[in-house]
Symmetry: C2
Subunit: 546 residues, 2 copies
């Protein structure tokens, strides 16, 4: 939606809105296919669910629950929340383990295989490909999440939620894509991501992790192009909805360092506590996002704090402590009971750095950027005291986009989910309220960028054949028997090839009927009021060849 | 020890014995090296431990605790005892998970990489190579655990324990090696192992897991040798100490089948309950071993009971239920409080069957027969109510041979540990009583058969170089950062090569000073009173070429 209208709409909640539309939500063909099998049963269940949600709100003075959504970067399934696996890795996450034990562990949470698309999926409830979104590159792109996309923050604002975002955003460098223009009342976030903030430093070079970037590490008289290496990038900004953003903590000409990266992480930790406190004092429910930059980090500590001691690993253990502090503050502020806390990772780890980073592939094979389970399976925990019993777990398939639809339902804001585009996110409120076995999906489509690479159905997963290859040539795996996707069974391929092909067809038919929307385009760094001269320069250079 | 003297000795407990000797236990050089660093501290701790053990016995009418030792076959670390990993594999082990939660989870239990050696290590407290033991082969060998070896059962009998063994034994086909001749008052066990019992069947052939063995599956007019395939093997026997064994459940000429294998498993489950009941009624502490044959199994069920449904996987879930029944019986008989229950696996899974078996490498790479962590790291849980707090875990290194020394200490039988041979098993009572961080070892030597293949020290592990290769060529891994041993770091090799070499030297020096003892030799199937004609025949044929 347009920035201005979003801002005005917040002034007239309940009177009018631009999202509410008649008709059903447009679904992917695969869900419609399931609906034909289970529709009556789910309709009946939905009546129970509505009554229960009503009852929960009534017990809280009519207020729907607050939502605290913590999204950790690049951590594969099993890296946090489980004591046994803590022992395997030598990384302790006692606070996340405790959180996991207090609610529902989602044992088959699928994300997209990279930061930008997972975050888009959660924000919009759509496979990012439908919004034209791939991974946002490290330097200037003039692209980002379109204003036409409707985020969960915008939807929750429609029903009176206060919203704030702290930490990684990674939805593009154009003004319409910034969080405070996508439904968040307030936001503190870096314009780009950790390649800039944690790798493009002198320290990461001497730590043997980013050779060739820093000027001091290159001595090549044949180099002509001085614009090959990213330069002058904006770092962290802060902003209120509808206002300009302001870069913080960087003076003109200053060099970005590891120390500055660490300060930025500490600042976000401070700010999430401040925001929580501020929102707790308001007379409205809140939706608060904490998307830390850690554990991504590429410099070894002077003194290991974990037994593992790897440069990622140590920051994961540090971050666990910070999350403990945040959850303690939730308690101190008396928010525990009517606050849903969701903690999860956005995608698998950067396996390229395994061995020395201290994180490793662990159970599932593969990592970030890959359609393998190691790329798209993450730890995910939901705590909702009084509603979800402690110690619960669910083996159902769930996709990160489902959070969009589920949060909307719980906030009684389903009416504001747009009806003019495909929504992939399914309402999983039944899973939360009635437990394991109540997911509305037994399938996931797994994309790498714009390419559909795998289809998951129940325990079966097909790696799609290359174009022109027959379906029978596509490997099919049983994820329970072979979590690392190393032993395809030809028998599966032979019986399931046609069924998987039908699933792909249903998905493609949906796309044909509802074509993808375009990615947002614009001028990089618009809407930042204090651009440094070097940032102005990089913007001018970028504009010169567009 | 000789069978007869063992029998007579049980009649004069406390008066005389052949094991008790003066002088210290002979240790491997590496432990002596640690002792020089920690000896004073451990001496002081041992005084506390002795007082505490005294106190525990006093609280139980002077009786040391019963010990129920459950050893599961071929299951890698993470396959049982952990809900998260249950969800990964689609195999539920709620009873084992519950047991794990009631005591101490040993997070770095090392075994030997195969059935026979692990069992020997536990029984004798020695690296099996010291007793001449490698894996006992599938058919007749005329070899087995020597009567000269002193087992934990023999030691516990010295201080008045009743002993019994039910299930897999796999210590050889000669009379001196049978459990009832190695310290167990009563035993029910198969003479061989599951290759015979579960793979050499018509059903395993039609299940595509054992092609070429069953006569109906071979039609080759060029075959001359009718003795190439094992035949006429003895199946399950039962015996009392000092008496002859008797084969049960097989008539002359009868063909062994999958149904018979399943009956055998069910019989052992029945018998472990019977033995428990019998021993509970005696006026003495007991040492009871249950070494199930399941989950090894090579035929698919008609109806999957687990989500996984693999032929191993389903039996693991079934076995978990049986263990639940056994532990419930412990409770029913009022034994819970003064009974130590140890449950663990003997080595990693048969990765050769992963994919279809339903078990897989999961976290650590490799499996049975291999020195990789996947071969020698297993789940291990100890419950000791009132002594070990529920919900405990320890990241310390421990080796299966340590159970020998630890059980002896707890039973106040350390004096009966022989002083004329190297004992590798370390006393880990401090770890049980004072918790994590109190292991007496930070190292393990990992053999494959008679070849030392790896040395583990703290988080570092060296795969030993091939003969003639320099130490710097040997890969060294950090097990926390790289549990799958896929990313050796040359930096580790360079600084640790010399230290690892010193460790090998200390170990070799010990061997030079205390040479290995010979494996027991004899006539196969001696001491079985009802040999079938086909078993007589195979024995005669075997004798003919020896």
């Amino acid at each position: 939606m347009k920035v201005l209208s979003a801002f005005l709409l917040t002034l007239c909640i309940g009177i009018a809105n631009s999202f509410a539309q008649d008709g059903p939500i447009i679904r992917d063909g695969e869900f419609t296919f399931l609906l034909a099998q289970k529709g009556d049963e789910w309709k009946e269940q939905d009546q129970r669910i509505d009554a229960r949600l009503e009852e929960i709100r009534a017990a809280n003075d009519g207020r729907p629950p607050n939502i605290l959504y913590i999204l950790i970067d690049d951590v594969s399934f099993g890296q946090m929340g489980n004591r046994t696996l803590n022992y395997v890795t030598g990384i302790e996450t006692p606070n996340i383990n405790e959180l996991a034990g207090e609610g529902l562990s989602l044992m088959r949470m699928y994300t997209e295989p990279s930061c930008t698309p997972t975050r888009t999926a959660m924000l919009t409830g759509r496979h990012p490909v439908r919004a034209g979104v791939e991974e946002v590159k490290v330097a200037l792109v003039g692209e980002g999440l379109s204003a036409e996309e409707v985020t969960i923050a915008e939807i929750l604002k429609e029903v009176g939620y206060n919203t704030a975002h702290v930490g990684k955003w990674h939805q593009g460098d154009i003004e319409q894509a910034y969080p405070h223009n996508q439904g968040f009342d307030w936001a503190a976030f870096p314009l780009h991501q950790q390649v800039q903030l944690s790798l493009m430093t002198r320290e990461a070079m001497t730590a043997n992790n980013m050779l060739g970037f820093h000027a001091s590490g290159q001595n090549n008289q044949f180099a002509i192009d001085q614009r090959f290496k990213p330069y002058g990038l904006v770092t962290g900004v802060e902003a209120e909805a509808g206002a300009k953003a302001r870069e913080v903590g960087m003076d003109p000409g200053e060099e970005w360092t590891q120390a500055k990266y660490e300060e930025m992480n500490e600042r976000y930790q401070r700010q999430i506590l401040e925001q929580l406190e501020r929102l707790a004092g308001e007379d409205a429910p809140f939706f608060l996002q904490y998307w830390p930059l850690y554990p991504l980090n590429f410099v070894y500590p002077d003194q290991a704090i974990s037994r593992n001691g790897g440069f990622h690993a140590d920051k994961l253990q540090l971050l666990d402590g910070w999350i403990g502090d945040l959850l303690a503050r939730v308690d101190d502020l008396g928010l525990r009971d009517n606050t849903i806390v969701v903690l999860m990772a956005d995608n698998g780890l950067m396996y390229h750095y395994e061995g020395t980073s201290g994180l490793n592939q662990l159970i599932y094979r593969g990592g970030k950027t890959q359609h393998l389970e190691g790329g798209v399976r993450t730890d995910a925990f939901i705590r909702w005291p009084g509603v979800i019993e402690p110690g619960n777990a669910a083996g159902d398939i769930i996709h990160v986009s489902d959070l969009f639809t589920t949060f909307a339902r719980i906030a009684d804001a389903t009416d504001y989910i747009p009806r003019d585009r495909v929504i992939d996110g399914l309402d999983q409120t039944a899973l939360l309220l009635e437990g394991e076995g109540n997911s509305r999906r037994d399938y996931v489509y797994v994309y790498e960028g714009t390419v559909l690479r795998s289809v998951v159905k129940q325990e079966f997963k097909m790696h799609l054949p290359a174009p022109g290859q027959p379906g029978a040539a596509a490997p099919v795996f049983n994820i329970y028997r072979d979590p690392r996707e190393e032993h395809p069974q030809v028998g599966y391929s032979l019986w399931s090839g046609a069924s998987f092909q039908d699933m792909v067809k249903r998905h493609q038919l949906t796309i044909a009927n509802h074509p993808h929307l375009p990615l947002g385009k614009g001028v990089p760094y618009e809407g930042i009021e204090n651009l440094r001269p070097e940032s102005e320069l990089t913007r001018e250079v970028f504009a010169s060849w567009q």
